[in-house]
């Protein structure tokens, strides 16, 4: 049963990549609409793996995942694209399309969703300006700095106004100033109603978003230092 304001629900989820040990074990939690979650844990704890399950890039080896009220395990493959269009992802390694300009990379989600060209140019230019890349619209990813690529990746993640924004170590490659700037950007989106999930191993970052809920991963298991996984979740301070 889908709880009110539920974005996703994991029930006893486990993941193993090959035949070795489970990388994620016994994950049971619910993420709620409009909240700001941090996913922390040491390197190798399984943060990226959990996010992959969350943005439907990976099937769990066991357990149940419900996404936007749809059983993501048993649904037909043909329904995946519709669900994925409601999820914005900032990949740890950005995953920009190398031969497309910054503009075309950001436009990709809209084109994928079948928007008309005349409805694409405006929003894409606006969002590139918003992340401070107005003068780099025609640049290929290879000619952009790490921070610039990251901002293109973020612009691409939010252009489709996703219900949930998932960012994997988004501040990993940028200086502290830029990290803070990006964080403010996520907060702003969050205030506009987007659910945000940021994976980071940078504990300083957590303190900078006081209203955030924190999920801790340790060797593939979740702990709940802030009551984020309770129902109802701890009310934001």
């Amino acid at each position: 049963m889908k709880a009110d304001g539920e974005i996703t629900h994991f029930d006893n989820v486990g993941l193993r990549y090959s035949t070795d040990r489970e990388v994620l074990s016994d994950l049971s939690f619910t993420l709620y609409s409009g909240r700001f979650y941090f996913l922390t844990g040491a390197s190798g704890a399984g943060k990226t793996s959990l996010l992959k399950l969350l943005y439907l890039a990976q099937r769990p080896s066991r357990g149940m995942i419900r996404m936007f009220g749809t059983d993501a395990i048993t649904m037909p493959r043909s329904r995946l694209p519709q669900l994925r269009r409601r999820i914005g992802v900032v990949f740890q390694d950005f995953r920009l399309v190398p031969h497309l300009s910054a503009f075309d990379n950001v436009a990709l989600p809209l084109r994928v969703a079948g928007h008309q060209e005349r409805d694409i140019a405006g929003p894409v230019s606006d969002i590139l300006e918003w992340v401070g890349l107005a003068d780099r619209v025609d640049a290929r990813p290879a000619t952009l700095s790490g921070g610039e690529q990251q901002r293109v990746a973020i612009a691409r993640a939010v252009i489709g106004q996703p219900a949930i924004l998932v960012a994997d170590e988004p501040t990993g490659n940028v200086d502290p100033d830029m990290a803070l700037k990006l964080l403010r950007l996520f907060e702003m989106l969050n205030r506009q109603g987007t659910t945000v999930v940021v994976a980071t191993h940078d504990l300083d970052l957590l303190r900078k978003v006081p209203d955030s809920l924190i999920m801790r991963l340790d060797k593939g298991r979740l702990s709940d230092p802030t009551g984020a996984l309770r129902y109802p979740p701890r009310a934001p301070a």
């Binding site: 943005y55 439907l56 890039a57 990976q58 099937r59 493959r77 043909s78 995946l80 694209p81 519709q82 994925r84 269009r85 992802v89 995953r95 399309v97 031969h99 497309l100 075309d104 990709l108 989600p109 084109r111 994928v112 969703a113 079948g114 008309q116 060209e117 691409r156 489709g160």
Partner: protein, 306 residues
């Protein structure tokens, strides 16, 4: 397929975004398709020409009967020929006949016997008289026997042969050639599909990362497949046009050579406009086949991705 990388931009964009952004004819694919199309078109032209020749010759020969008068004495031979003509004229089922003029018979025999006959007043070497008979249906053994019975009393030296009998081996050879050309067309189509399948698979490998990104951004298998299909479509259309041009040069120059022979069978094998339409359809079919193969290959492979 090489051109694909440059064109994933239009992956999902409306169909009219960047249709011809890159230099085409870059990878090996267009050339492979050009060769396939050329060979297919030539094999098809050969098959069609043979088919026409067989059809025309069959109609001609089926009802053809040759009456040879082997009488050595010229005067007797001539009178037997006249008597045979009268008898044939009275027979049912004989649509027409023609005594082959002596000059023509001489010309037929000349390569083997030389021209000695004329000088010696036709006495030196006996040359048979030939009557070319056309029946209104196939020259069955029954009908041959009937002619034999009719001629025996008036022209005892007559020897009667169905023309199809001695042309049968030629026929059979032509039919096998035609079967061969049809088989060749089928094999080439198979080879083309296989080439496209391999190219699509390797392109899928090359572009796996981008395809994954497109998927994760909510792109559908159809959107990805459409792009591959369009890319191979351009390659195939370009290669196909080239191949057809090549084939036309070959076909036309072969046709000119056969014309030069002036041989009846080959004349009858001339291609008619519907044949040319079929030949022109080869690159179109090749393009459709290539696009369909690419589409199915890609969709099949994508089903295994998440």
């Amino acid at each position: 397929m090489n051109a694909l990388s440059g064109r994933l931009r239009s992956v999902v964009a409306g169909s009219d975004v960047q249709l011809f952004p890159q230099a085409r004819m870059s990878g090996p694919m267009p050339w492979v398709i050009a060769i396939m199309v050329a060979m297919t078109a030539i094999a098809l032209a050969g098959g069609l020409a043979l088919g026409n020749a067989i059809f025309a010759a069959k109609a001609e020969i089926d009802g053809g009967v040759t009456v040879q008068l082997l009488e050595p004495r010229a005067d007797v031979r001539d009178s037997q020929a006249r008597a045979a003509a009268t008898a044939l004229g009275a027979m049912q089922g004989v649509r027409g006949f023609r005594q082959v003029p002596q000059a023509e018979v001489d010309a037929l025999i000349e390569p083997w016997l030389g021209t000695g006959t004329d000088d010696d007043g036709g006495l030196a070497i006996p040359v048979p008289a030939l009557i070319d008979v056309r029946l209104d249906g196939p020259a069955s053994p029954d009908r041959l026997a009937a002619i034999e019975r009719a001629l025996r009393p008036v022209a005892p030296s007559a020897r009667i042969d169905a023309q199809s009998n001695w042309l049968k081996p030629v026929f059979d050879a032509m039919v096998s050639l035609q079967v061969l050309s049809i088989a060749l067309v089928a094999l080439l189509a198979g080879a083309l599909a296989a080439a496209v399948l391999l190219a699509s698979r390797s392109a899928l490998g090359t572009h796996r990362e981008v395809i994954e990104i497109i998927h994760l951004l909510g792109g559908t298998d159809n959107q990805v497949a459409r792009e591959f299909q369009r890319s191979i479509g351009f390659d195939a259309a370009g290669g196909g046009a080239l191949g057809l041009g090549l084939a036309l040069v070959v076909i036309l120059s072969l046709a000119r050579r056969f014309d030069g022979l002036g041989a009846g069978l080959v004349d009858n094998g001339a291609l008619v406009w519907t044949d040319w339409l079929l030949i022109a359809a080869v690159p179109v079919m090749a393009t459709l086949l290539a696009m369909m193969t690419a589409r199915l290959t890609v969709l099949h492979a994508l089903r295994k991705m998440l």
